[in-house]
Symmetry: C2
Subunit: 582 residues, 2 copies
């Protein structure tokens, strides 16, 4: 019952729905990356994930990481699997060839990481920050730092962390207190405590490269006073740096990944990027990192779905209503997959998985376009898509991972609540994705308050028009999606107007706005999937389940936002001297 | 941060909203149970739960139950706490005085068990089945069995189990295979294996009384061939019976309660009730048992809310939008309770808790009325309420326990995912309530297919009219609730008609129908709460949050059901020779 990647499912979305091979071939670095090569990479990635990574997932949960005397021991099999991952060249899939990478498209790396998380979320955390650290260092590191660390990180020979959170500074990084004092030799002495550091200490690689958010002397308070330091566990001269793991957390799940409390005691480090520009240096990788968390969500949901689907195709309980199912054949009870309540769970989660994949893979393609398209306007459009769609994906896919995995657990009845089938582990593991890399509440505010409203909804409107233009209004399903996209464009304008009267309003409806956006995009994805698979009865059934059970939330969320805007308009019209015109 | 019952909150609902003291005083056995006595019981129960039961909750999770050589060791402190529970007379709160009970109303027992579950779900499982076993034995046991076991169970001196599930027979009890062979002395020899038996083995009491669903020789296949046997761990002669615990489950949560696999090897037992009427004998306690699971859900959600509310009133992160909060006072960040996303979580969960309490306490009152009212018509009406409302409460309150506790976890950010604050335990513990005592999918089918549709929605309509008649249409909020109740009555008729054309339809929309019902009842509860608390700003804020964020699901669910019915009507009108008229 270990997770098995299904490359055909992904290929259908990439090739038939998203036209990825042609889009990639148009980008200079991928001129050679044709459909056959992409397919081969997917096959090999699927095999590696299924054969090497998935089988040790349970040990990661049950044995977990252990901590003793400042050292972390990984769960059984993790060291060997990680070494095989490095040997296979997987960490460096999209890193540049000159840095030791494979130079493959981000979209293939996205699929790989979705599958990795599905198979073994705990192990995936180890290399999960490599690409971000690589990008951060490549864009902002000095030549000396790059020369010393870039290739090691690109190849995964050394792992990396992001040390942001402190006990009193979680969502509010402006409160970070870790200090960094410049030395005569150009290095820094870094002191402070960080918590929730994934992979802060472990036995997978001989060195660990910490990227530490810190404050230089006399830096102003708040986020503008933050700088970024690179602090390795092992110094270039081979000595151990003053970086200590004080404990690892007891968590709800994700036991395969050590979540460390780190102490820096005048540890030696070096500045990455400009002083006071630490957040900017980290945010260069934000879209990619958040997209990867969304992909973790999709992967975990697919893993839960695979388990529930297999169980429902074996387990028989009671008679199903309606016509006699073909699978009955003299049995005294029907397959639970034939029972409407179970069918509904399986089909709606399938609808989420393939719909969200379509949008997430499109976002990964846009990362490739943004990085490599020769046309600056195309790069700008792609960047706009990534900026607006990434928070939507991060929040919606991780929310669905947890809630959908719980639905899949329900398919097992009491058997789902015990360890045996591994489904409850997915529920526990997935819960953290709603929190890390920016809580889902922060994603919603990022989307609406920071990105949609400042230009009155213009950029979001442009993104939705892009989607509209891919549809064929002569098809009924497409016309329905176009209508929803238009409603969503109008909604952005409505909120922008109401926000003039009540600046707190967008914070109150940010979640509903984000959900509306995701649901409209899922509707778009399913219209495209159906158009690309005529006569496919299973796809048609899942599409119908999507429209029947999932999509009605769109109207509900839109209604909540509209009503809030109307209430503001009424209140402010009633109060003399206030209102939109002020 | 242990759970603390708040008797004032409950008293407001019982006295001001539900008029419980007057209703109870009208029942003969409770003529002496006046408001002062009820209040005193609540105070003492609250103190006991807060002082004795809550502090050992974490040990229940972290140490858990252990199993060795067929014996179960309870977590630290559980034996002493259970003994104190028995010594205080709590297990027998609503049992008849002649059986060693206190003879108090079911509604007070309901509050006690809600608080117990909130404080320590694991420990609560131990006495959780006592009342059911007591009722079952009292109604169906022979005089000899009653004489031997009834008082021991009523007082909690011996604990009891329900042995229903087998590996292949979960929701489908008709597949139970455990055999019972009558002996010349009138006893039975019981053989078979049962799984998921809560408290099947433990060290809390010297004897354990198992009620075992089994099959007599030559019994027909299916549910009508099932009988019920009482099988004690210790036989009347003091010898150990052939009842063995083979293992306890590793579960997602609820580690304080041993979930046992039991083997009966020609164990000695006695028939309870008629042969072939085993399910009927167990179902006598169904409404009470399911209501108690709903109360567990409410309690767990309240426990999660208490933690999140306290954390949000201490933790400061970032600036809140809108007017400067009074709590700012020169701090560099605002309380997270001031942030709209956190406020929304806290207020919507509060709305669920107090709304669901109102409906659940009313149901417990109806249990008292059904048992004790002198007027047979009043008893019948109360029975009708319990039959229809219990599955709604069981499914909706347990669903909200898990999902709402997860929302409360989100308030803690990353701190919620680690053990420290105890919030993740509530998420894990609560998940099982959606499964046991009939999965929530089974509850929805029980409601719509077995209870609402057979009389074309008439009984449900009568229940909704009862609610309507408590409202004052001249109040705008009440009129709005009346409109929803009317829509819901009409919906029952619509589904009943569509079900003639497509018998599978009710199974497909059962969940949406149940949710619609719960949301309309919550709207009723909040209209009553508001009417009973004029000028209470906090209640008004929570009521507004309910209408703004929770209630819109009512229209969404109604819309899903209506659309499904319309689709059936269209399909069958289009197909010649089929349709409603056939």
């Amino acid at each position: 019952m270990d997770y098995q990647p299904r490359p055909d499912d992904v290929r259908f979305l990439l090739n038939a729905v998203l036209d990825a091979p042609a889009r990639l071939a148009a980008l200079a670095p991928f001129a050679e990356v044709d459909e056959a090569l992409q397919s081969q990479v997917l096959e090999e990635a699927g095999r590696f994930v299924g054969e090497v990574v998935a089988p040790i997932n349970r040990a990661g949960d049950e044995t977990g990481c252990s901590f003793s005397n400042g050292e972390v021991t990984s769960p059984p099999g993790f060291r060997e699997a990680y070494q095989a991952f490095v040997d296979g060249g997987w960490p460096a899939l999209s890193a540049a060839p000159e840095d030791g990478g494979q130079g493959l498209p981000a979209v293939l790396e996205a699929v790989l990481y979705e599958w990795l998380a599905a198979a073994n979320h705990g192990l995936t955390m180890a290399p999960g920050l490599l690409h971000g650290a690589y990008a951060c260092l490549k864009h902002h590191g000095s030549d000396e730092l790059k020369q010393r660390y870039l290739q090691k990180i690109a190849t995964g020979e050394w792992l990396a962390t992001m040390c942001l959170t402190e006990a009193h500074a979680g969502s509010d990084l402006g409160q970070v207190r870790t200090r960094a004092v410049p030395q005569a030799d150009g290095s820094l002495r870094v002191s402070g405590s960080k918590i929730f550091i994934s992979g802060g200490e472990h036995d997978l690689t001989p060195n660990i490269v910490h990227l530490v958010l810190c404050r230089l002397p006399d830096a102003p308070a708040g986020p503008k006073g933050l700088s970024l330091a690179l602090v390795p566990r092992q110094l270039p001269d081979g000595k151990r740096n003053a970086v200590h793991c004080e404990r690892i957390e007891e968590k709800m799940g994700l036991h395969g990944s050590p979540t460390c409390s780190m102490r820096f005691d005048d540890a030696t480090g070096w500045l990455v990027g400009e002083p006071g520009r630490g957040l900017a240096a980290m945010f260069v990788m934000m879209n990619s990192a958040r997209l990867h968390v969304a992909l973790q969500g999709i992967g975990l949901l697919d893993a839960a779905w695979q388990k529930a689907d297999a169980y429902a195709a074996e387990r028989r309980q009671m008679r199903a209503p309606g016509p006699v199912p073909a699978s009955r054949r003299g049995e005294s009870a029907d397959l639970i997959a034939e029972h409407p309540a179970v069918r509904r769970i399986l089909d709606t989660q399938r609808a989420w998985i393939d719909g969200a994949r379509t949008i997430a893979y499109r976002s990964a393609l846009m990362l490739d376009v943004a990085a490599h398209d020769a046309d600056p306007k195309a790069r700008e459009r792609a960047q706009r898509w990534c900026s607006l769609v990434t928070p939507v994906l991060k929040a919606a896919c991780t929310h669905q991972a947890f809630h959908g995995a719980s639905e899949c657990l329900q398919v097992f009845g009491g058997h789902g609540y015990v360890r045996e089938w591994g489904i409850e582990q997915i529920v526990r593991d997935s819960r953290v994705t709603m929190i890390y890399e920016g809580t889902n509440e922060i994603q919603a505010i990022d989307l609406l308050v920071r990105k949609v409203l400042p230009d009155g909804g213009a950029a979001m409107s442009a993104v939705l028009l892009e989607l509209r233009d891919t549809l064929d209004a002569s098809r009924e399903a497409d016309a329905d999606v176009q209508r929803r996209l238009a409603q969503l464009r109008y909604l952005g304008t409505t909120v922008a107007m109401a926000a003039h009267a009540d600046p707190a309003l967008p914070y109150e409806v940010a979640d509903d706005y984000l959900r509306s956006t995701m649901l409209a995009m899922l509707a778009w994805a399913w219209a495209r999937i159906e158009a690309a698979s005529p006569g496919d009865a299973e796809k048609a059934r899942v599409a119908a389940a999507f429209r029947r059970w999932v999509l009605p939330e769109f109207e509900m969320r839109m209604g909540i936002v509209k009503k809030a805007c109307e209430t503001v308009a009424l209140t402010h019209a009633a109060a003399p001297g206030s209102g939109v015109s002020n």
